[in-house]
């Protein structure tokens, strides 16, 4: 029995769901492995503590909302032609099926949360603010038909890299202008350093690592173009 295997089965073991030799194997491993035993002990303590939390019930209005939507859907269903109802029975993507699945998913989600609430961290106290009457939020900007927030967020690091690349280009041009007064050795040292920093940029993964590499390049170029650090070296 390995640690990984034991940890996979730890929740089931603590829930008393492992029977026979499977439970024995986990228990045997816990007797010999300090790390897994500590983890099991933490988990058990956590459950004990969370059992004392008050029950977390969803608000009644949530169920009222679900029921109202179901009722509305049933009315709409009754008004459909018979052939469409028959078709819908065979097409799981139909709205009726979708609502039904949404209801099942909502129930499953709530059951899951309620079932596992005693497993949540003992000292985590979650409260929700009372429903507030708020000033209307600013009108959201219209969404482009082909752009989604997830795509925009995913594209943000590359956009930042483009901005850094533009700044690098400008400072590099400024440094080249200043290099007119440098010796050949100084120019070679500068080119070598820029090459090294550019390689670091190219080798860095898009995101924070690449942005950090760009900042190192910008700092060096500022020193070269503005603070005479190449010329004075």
């Amino acid at each position: 029995m390995t640690c990984d295997k034991t940890r996979e089965q730890l929740t089931a073991y603590l829930d008393g769901e492992l029977e026979g030799d499977r439970g024995t194997a986990v228990r045997g491993h816990l007797r010999t492995c300090d790390a897994c035993r500590a983890m099991a002990s933490d988990e058990a303590a956590l459950r004990d503590g969370l059992r004392s939390l008050p029950p977390l019930d969803p608000p009644a209005s949530m169920w009222a909302g679900v029921q109202a939507r179901l009722a509305k859907e049933e009315v709409a269903e009754s008004e459909r032609p018979a052939w469409r109802r028959a078709l819908a029975r065979w097409m799981p993507s139909s709205p009726r099926f979708g609502i039904g699945m949404a209801f099942v998913a909502a129930v499953a989600g709530v059951v899951l949360v309620l079932h596992h609430k005693h497993e949540m961290k003992r000292d985590m106290v979650m409260t929700t603010l009372p429903h507030e009457t708020q000033a209307p939020a600013p009108a959201p900007a219209p969404a482009p038909s082909n752009a989604d927030v997830t795509a925009e967020i995913a594209a943000a690091p590359a956009k930042t890299s483009q901005d850094y690349a533009q700044a690098t280009k400008e400072l590099l041009a400024a440094a080249r202008t200043e290099s007119a007064t440098w010796s050949d050795d100084q120019k070679q040292a500068f080119d070598a350093k820029v090459g090294e920093l550019q390689a670091a940029i190219d080798g860095a993964a898009e995101g924070r690592a690449r942005h950090k590499a760009y900042r190192a390049m910008l700092r060096y170029l500022q020193g070269a173009a503005i603070r005479d650090e190449v010329a004075l070296r």
């Binding site: 979650m126 969404a143 901005d163």
Partner: protein, 312 residues
């Protein structure tokens, strides 16, 4: 298992907060408190690409998180998530995201928001990043590293090492008592009451203004923007203020001996003008006060003017 459950709970919490659909969108507010178990919270890592982050230090040991979500409709609101993952080493990772839902109608990032207000133990270090939202760090004792793309960045009453970066988000750092490294590409940097060992700030297309700067070593650099600095020079300290095209203006409070070096298209050293020694390399130098370990003040602008004032 624990982390997954915590993330699940945070995702589920707004569901119990009864989202309210207004004519102009849907909003949800929720609050979570996380108390330390074995180890105190030592570090917060916050990534919020969807809105503002404000981190306030306080004297407690728990982390309190308020989330404010906004979306055009409830369906989109349900896609907005906040996950909270505490690690055994005392690090807590808070991440916001929008679920990818290929069946939902696309919604622009500007149409949704998740704003976070976090109260954290003062001695926790904070690493936080946003994209276009506002990023604020207030009343903390262990510094942090803050990163924005276009959102404004603000640090106030913070001790410890502070590192800030932005592409075009304006930076304001006030009452920072620790080393500062602030870098921006195309925005302004405002510094007020900076008292650490080292202050490094740079802006390519933006100005830098510093008031009540008492750092021992100061290095301010701009490409285009003006630099304005009011500072005290520490014994053996270095103040290096440089711009390629921008004007440079330094106002120095009199404290001990200072060696002043200046270079620009126009050099005005005020009341010290008569003591200036012109150097063969085009620099102007002046020594002020008596002492073996003078502070060095170096001001330069390749294509701009340089001015110095000695405040008695």
């Amino acid at each position: 298992m624990k982390t997954i459950l915590l993330a699940l709970c945070l995702a589920a919490a707004p569901a119990f907060a009864e989202p309210k659909t207004a004519d102009k969108g849907a909003d949800e507010h929720a609050r979570v408190e996380l108390a330390p178990s074995a180890k105190a919270f030592k570090q917060l890592q916050i990534d919020n690409p969807l809105g503002d982050v404000r981190v306030e230090g306080y004297d407690g040991t728990a982390i309190q998180i308020e989330t404010h979500k906004h979306a055009p409709d409830e369906e989109t609101l349900a896609r907005l998530r906040v996950s909270l993952v505490p690690n055994p080493d005392g690090t807590v990772h808070i991440q916001t995201m929008a679920d990818k839902n290929v069946e939902a109608k696309p919604v622009a990032a500007s149409a949704v928001r998740i704003d976070l207000i976090i109260r954290a133990p003062r001695d926790a270090r904070v690493d936080a990043s946003v994209i276009a939202g506002k990023l604020e760090l207030v009343n903390m004792d262990a510094g942090g590293e803050l990163d924005t793309a276009s959102g404004p960045l603000s640090v106030r009453n913070v001790q410890g090492e502070v590192v800030t970066h932005s592409v075009s988000g304006a930076m304001t750092l006030t009452q920072v008592f620790g080393s500062v490294d602030a870098a921006t590409v195309s925005s302004d940097v405002d510094l007020d009451t900076i008292g650490g060992e080292k202050l490094v700030a740079s802006a390519n297309h933006g100005r830098i203004a510093g008031r009540r700067v008492r750092a021992r070593d100061v290095e301010l650099t701009t490409t285009d923007g003006k630099i304005w600095l009011e500072a005290e020079a520490a014994l053996r300290g270095h103040l290096v203020v440089s711009s390629l095209h921008g004007d440079v203006e330094v106002h120095l409070h009199r404290r001990g001996a200072v060696l002043l070096r200046a270079h620009g298209t126009k050099v005005d050293l005020g009341q010290l003008q008569q003591q200036v020694r012109a150097q063969p390399n085009g620099w102007s130098e002046a020594s002020i006060g008596q002492g073996d370990n003078p502070a060095l003040v170096e001001m330069r602008s390749q294509y701009g003017a340089v001015a110095f004032t000695w405040i008695e």
